[in-house]
Symmetry: C2
Subunit: 338 residues, 2 copies
DNA sequence: GGAAACTAGGAAAACGATTGCCGTCACGGT
DNA sequence: ACCGTGACGGCAATCGTTTTCCTAGTTTCC
């Protein structure tokens, strides 16, 4: 089998085995009634020619291609990847292959991809990516099921799977309460970002349930370490007492941690610190290692893929589905044993 | 066009336009000789039915699928993504769709993917991922061209596109020399990692060309911030004078930066600092922002894809191709203007 | 006015695989 | 001897498109 060799067709196999194409097909797929000897002969021929059935030709018949398209809204990033991998994993288990399409936040490019995918007769489409808000559907009345993962569709009838950020924020607060902190500050991303608002609101609500409140209004800024450092400055200047900080991202938390240390406050003894995203790069490099809320994106991707598979098989799950977050405790909220 | 609607076929279009299928095909593809009026009629019918030619059926004829497979050796990570995106971009421009396959470092899984891709009759395959050394080829005598990107194939006859790490290391040293530093230390990743060895060796060689040498043997460790911090301890304990540190990764550099500051050394006034990878998360959060060597992975991916396209069209480029790195200067090597 | 030269579009054969339907054989029962 | 019945495999239709070959018409030119 040299580099220039053509792919073997079932006709080649049939010829080598001395049977008709139809018989060869039946032999390889375990259909029809054939003598065991014949079956073996055909299988052996197929092996010799390293025959692999042409999936395209096959799907011409079955009407299914066993492929799905995955469109990322914005450029593929830290958040899309786990989603993508989870989905790929779940789909692979279902014998599905994935077409990757990087939309790069360009609606034209995206529409081009949608057309391409449809012409390739994908069985379904997953849309993912990060946005500050829900996004417009990729198309109306598409002939195949679509699932939005991580991002959510502006059409509430579409199937979207999103992290339960409010639940995550509640878990964060509950953990801080559980380790005995009551004077909690919240530093987070830009207010125009839906995630920042939702998390802040949920944190506030959870405290209210215990008759408490944030020691100061949420500090909205950016998602970066730089902002985390600045925010600590603001907090300290305000002279508000606080024994814990809940941060909207691990990067913010890391900045906060560095700034607190520089200001002489110990983490976690003086101030307990909790992040959001559970991004290993940050949680591990932080001194001390950072407690955080894991969005469980890989699970989310998997779950989205499973919903897509279900929809392809005729059982769609319309609507918005919240995927639970998970608390991961590290030393930034627990005093290490001496 | 409702959700349950079948895809329109060219027969539907032909019927609506009142012509034969053959004619419809010619009209849509600009073949044959047809009256302009007929062409328009067919096009209009296609538009009404939102007809998109079935790519699978089409490729049955042409023998080409206009798809390529992309296999990532290890789990998709920070390094694979830009490569992947660059490739996707270049391929998209060539009207090719990409099958994404996440090998997860599992040879069985990988072989399964290779088979799947071949049965889908991809026109070519790109293999990417990170490894400490060159990897075994994904298969011998495959019927389609294969290009290895970022990672390289152990078979020197295979087409591999890899970053010119030695060149990058030389650029780093040259930059340090250019800003007047001569007492350079090198802190890098594990010695069993090919990248670490290559970069260290190239740095040493470049210094030798100027009659200099590293102030101490390269410090091999991990790629992490934690190691960077530790290494500074070792360096300071050794009482060797140094006015610059070239780090094998941005994470190491960041750790070094934090540790130096904690030890009272100013960056860049006392010690100039340069990283490797140009990872925005690190370079931007570092205080001061970090000068680094950019592997130019997106360009590398693009370039790999272009070589694959060329190979598909009959002009393969066998062998190992080094893709140049780029120096990105920030404040960690330049004293900011007062 | 008749042959040559076009033009427009239809019919049918690929492409590779699957599958329903049939024909043929061998065998057993009456 | 004849019929019924399985077992085994071949034939041909089918999926959706492209493309090659052909057949009517219509011009054109001598």
């Amino acid at each position: 089998m040299g580099k220039l060799e053509r792919h073997a067709t079932i006709a080649d196999v049939a010829a080598l085995a001395g049977v008709s194409v139809g018989t060869a097909s039946k032999a390889l797929n375990g259909r029809g009634s054939l003598r065991e000897e014949t079956r073996m002969r055909v299988r052996e021929a197929a092996r010799q020619l390293s025959f692999e059935a042409n999936a395209g030709a096959r799907s011409l018949h079955s009407g299914r291609t066993y492929t799905v398209g995955m469109i990322t809204t914005d450029t593929i990033g830290r958040f899309s990847i786990p989603v993508l991998m989870g989905a790929e994993d779940a789909l692979g288990a279902g014998e599905m292959s994935v077409f990757l399409c990087d939309g790069r936040d360009d609606p034209i490019r995206e529409q081009y991809y949608v057309k391409t995918l449809l012409s390739r007769r994908v069985d379904g489409v997953i849309v993912t990516g990060r946005r500050t808000e829900a996004r417009a559907p990729i198309g109306a009345n598409l002939p195949v099921p679509v699932v939005y993962a991580f991002i959510s569709s502006a059409d509430p009838g579409d199937c979207s799977v999103v992290p339960d950020e409010a639940g995550g924020a509640r878990k964060a607060v509950e953990h801080l309460l559980a380790v005995g902190r009551t004077r909690i500050a919240h530093i987070t991303g830009p207010e125009h970002h839906n995630s920042a608002r939702v998390r802040a609101a949920a944190a506030g609500e959870r405290l209210t349930e215990d008759g408490l409140s944030l020691v100061a209004p949420p500090l909205f800024g950016g998602w970066s370490e730089v902002w985390g450092r600045q925010a600590v400055g603001i907090l300290l200047a305000g002279r508000t007492e606080f024994d814990a900080v809940f941060c909207g991202s691990d990067q913010i938390a890391r900045g906060v941690c560095d700034a607190l240390r520089a200001a002489g406050r110990r983490v976690p003894q003086d101030v307990a610190l909790i992040g959001f995203d559970n991004w290993d790069v940050m949680t591990e490099a932080c001194q001390p290692p950072l407690t955080s809320i894991d969005l469980n994106l890989e699970g989310l991707g998997r779950s989205a893929a499973e919903m897509l598979l279900a929809a392809i098989n005729g059982s769609p799950s319309p609507g918005r589905h919240a995927h639970p977050c998970r608390l991961v405790v590290r030393e930034s909220t627990t005093v290490p044993l001496p």
